[in-house]
Symmetry: C2
């Protein structure tokens, strides 16, 4: 079939990551091909090919020989106004039949998973296909072999970093615990002790802030691979956003539908985490699993199962891997939201009297564990090394060095709109709902509005009086502040005040 040739004209529509192609309903070739709204089309320009969804222009916005693209598709295609592009029907996607197999509950073999992941990484899946894949793999429907194969496929379709020195250490915290910003402490602690930790972090999927979001409030994180390599060579570590590095690029695409679905399954989680680690060249990895009734992992049994899956997949991929389960009954640190979490991190490094002790403690445990894993020391012997690095100020100087190397350090922004939520009775805080708190912080604008979120003034067991502030909402816009307040007022409390026992 001869592709259709049309001339590009910019109409300027932003559809986020979803490539859209706009064509006039008067385009006779398109009509004769039977193309209509939502038809998937292949758009080619020089050596670039993009799969896009057709939206049909029914006005005179475009002429019959013109075509336009959503802003994301312009970028992917590297095209300019007036360029000629070719449109054609894409070949049928073989991997969709494997996707259907999985939906019907059948096992997939490694070549089938590789085909799916390759199509995902190349942008050939629509949002509907992605949603079906994520859903079909959720709820424990990927077995161990499938999870290993999925992880390998996700590594194979992207770039892979190779480092001259070793061992390369890394840590990952399984989400669901607001404010758990230990990575920004662990990296400077262990690199100041001589380990190499080239950290690629993610942005928030379903939480109010990812490490990349928090780090971005004090330094640039969107670095290309060459720049990242220079930072690591100079400082021994970095904290960058992994998305632009094309490490496990399928993962970055999958996140697009995990976010609106608020879904992040066990097999996908392990594949996502370990594919990023392997692609970043890591050899020694500590997995932090916070456990609590409203954390992502709710009980000891689930933590054991998830830990075992991490361990098994990690072993298959050749990692040295250790699980550190921890208390996830309440947020760690005080701030929830990118800038507020970065502020807590800086307070710990600067040894402010106000610094949250729980965040410091958890970071020291994880850093100590990494030191032991990487150097073969006995359990418990790593902690004092980590403590020394923090107390001597080495870790603070190291974070300053890393920020400078990444493009320059600045203080995190402060929100313009705040509102304190007060206790309505006297008593003791008997439970904290992490999910509700995270939801409130997101409604206040986090992570898109970096200064937004909330600042928690109490912890489990705190005594409160009527009218005492429980937490302060931070927002960058009055609408978002009102929206978060409306939710927290209508949805039952995030904090439960009980009678003192």
């Amino acid at each position: 079939m001869t592709p259709i040739t049309l001339r590009l004209r910019r109409i300027g529509i932003d559809t986020y990551q979803e490539p859209v192609v706009y064509m006039s309903s008067e385009c006779s070739v398109g009509r004769s091909e039977g193309w209509e709204a939502l038809t998937r089309l292949q758009v080619s320009h020089a050596s670039h090919v993009v799969l896009a969804t057709l939206h049909v222009v029914t006005s005179d916005l475009l002429g019959p020989h013109e075509v336009s693209l959503s802003d994301a598709a312009w970028r992917l295609l590297g095209a300019s106004e007036g360029d000629v592009v070719h449109l054609s029907s894409p070949p049928p996607l073989e991997s969709l039949s494997y996707l259907r197999s999985k939906v019907y509950g059948r096992r997939l073999d490694p070549p089938q998973l590789h085909a799916i992941v390759a199509d995902i990484a190349a942008g050939r899946y629509s949002a509907v296909h992605l949603a079906a894949f994520v859903t079909a793999c959720a709820g424990g429907r990927l077995d161990l072999d499938e999870t290993i194969a999925l992880t390998r496929a996700m590594i194979d379709v992207g770039e892979r970093l190779v480092w001259k020195r070793g061992p390369i250490v890394d840590k990952h915290s399984v989400g669901g615990l607001p404010g758990n910003r230990t990575t920004m402490l662990v990296v400077p602690i262990v690199t100041s002790l001589g380990l190499t930790m080239p950290k690629t972090s993610s942005r928030a999927i379903t939480s109010p802030a990812g490490t990349a979001d928090a780090m971005e409030t004090i330094a640039p994180v969107d670095l290309d691979l060459a720049t990242m390599r220079r930072v690591v060579e100079r400082e021994g570590g970095c904290i960058v956003w992994g998305g632009s590095a094309r490490l496990s690029p399928a993962d970055d695409v999958i996140i697009r539908v995990e976010r609106p679905l608020d879904l992040d399954s066990e097999g996908q989680l392990v594949a996502s985490v370990l594919s990023k680690k392997a692609a970043a060249g890591s050899t020694h990895v500590v997995i932090d699993i916070p456990v609590g009734p409203t954390a992502k992992v709710r009980g000891a049994e689930a933590a054991t199962a998830l830990g075992a899956l991490f361990a098994a997949v990690g072993q298959a991929l050749g990692f040295e891997l250790r699980i550190e389960a921890g208390d996830g009954s309440q947020p760690i640190g005080r701030g929830i939201g990118p800038a507020l979490e970065a502020r807590d991190v800086l307070a710990v490094l600067r040894q402010d009297s106000e610094a949250p002790a729980d965040l410091r403690e958890r970071a020291l445990v994880l850093a100590g564990s990494l030191v032991e894993l990487a150097t073969g020391r006995n359990p418990g012997t790593g902690y004092p090394f980590a403590q020394g690095a923090l107390d001597r100020g080495d870790a603070l100087r190291k974070l300053e060095g890393i920020c400078a190397a990444q493009g320059g350090m600045h203080e995190p922004p402060v929100a313009g709109y705040r509102h304190a939520v007060l206790a309505d009775r006297a008593g003791v805080i008997v439970s904290i709902d992490n999910r509700r708190l995270a939801r409130v912080a997101k409604l206040a604008g986090a992570p898109k509005a970096p200064a937004a979120g909330l600042d928690l003034h109490v912890r489990l067991g705190s005594r409160v009086e009527p009218g005492q502030p429980l937490y302060t909402l931070h927002a960058e816009a009055p609408g978002e502040l009102a929206y978060a307040l409306e939710y927290q007022g209508s949805s039952g409390s995030s904090l439960t005040i009980g009678d003192p026992t």
Copy 2:
């Protein structure tokens, strides 16, 4: 939160059923609310409310106080150019937490399923949410109670027809068998015998033609409820598209993602079929299940399981229901595609010597079964009644009457582009791949191009010589013809020629 007020301006973009709202990136209120591309927004105009996906206009196509809508959203909102609309963040959807429960494999109770279905019918689910729901229910992950509850919910959220006379009969063929256009024969046969059969049919989901698509090639099918009622009162039956009647409207929405996923699960299937039947007021229903290696139902065991699910859900909903399993090893009739299937139906009714005998036979079996079910006759006694109605010409006159009442009958269109696919060797047809044939017919343009599809010249067991036509492709455009040819040439044969035994 105060909604934003903006003035509507038409820019003319067709996004099929997916409502999109276009807003300028310069709209300061939108920015302060944190709205960005793909944010879900509630658009209100007078008493109408639509949930739409935001696409951000980054050019001067819209001013900062203007807003536009996709063509579907204009229709849903009943708005005109220059009208003022209100935009706001939609309230969080409670039912998404039930959806996540289902994704994680938990059972849903009737109120939870009702909440999901109500949100779907109201257009509050995005394509991503719909895809997750369909996937989470596929592969046998809805149990019997859930399937009953889903069916009841789908009935409850739509209109329900009440008929003065009874019994109201209906039949449904489980898809997957190309050309199985018996409904257009069963309706005129049984209504000419005095039964009442107000048939609401669907358009194709994943097949080259649905009954509504085929019927539409000879008469209008897009009737409102009042018109449909008049047709049934006059003729005793009708064959209309059910989508505009708002019978089980959630089903019409779900189809939007089943199509790109090529997915149609057992529980969804039963809920879809029986909710439409109950909403249409049917009391006596025959379910036709074709069984064959490449039909939707591949073996006797699967047919028994699906039949049992239909029977159990049917009983819970108060239907008299009978299952008729039949041969699904090859297409029924010769044509595959809307107009070609309608042509076969007319040939049977007109008793042409060329009329496909298998289509006639299957329609008589189903019509006979319906007669027995509705009148309490013994098995086998209904067939002669059906045969008489066909042979006397009563059924032909009845279909002509129904078509006239629906708005006027005409002959089905004929495709302008054809190509015969020839046998490459001598032998006997030993297998027919229904799925591949359906795929070829779809690539040729069916069902969007009504005259497109294919005409099968051989059946299982036919002897063929080299160069003898196996089937003829029909297309309305040369591009589609070429595309179908390319696929059938590259994908292995739809028909297998073996040695005569």
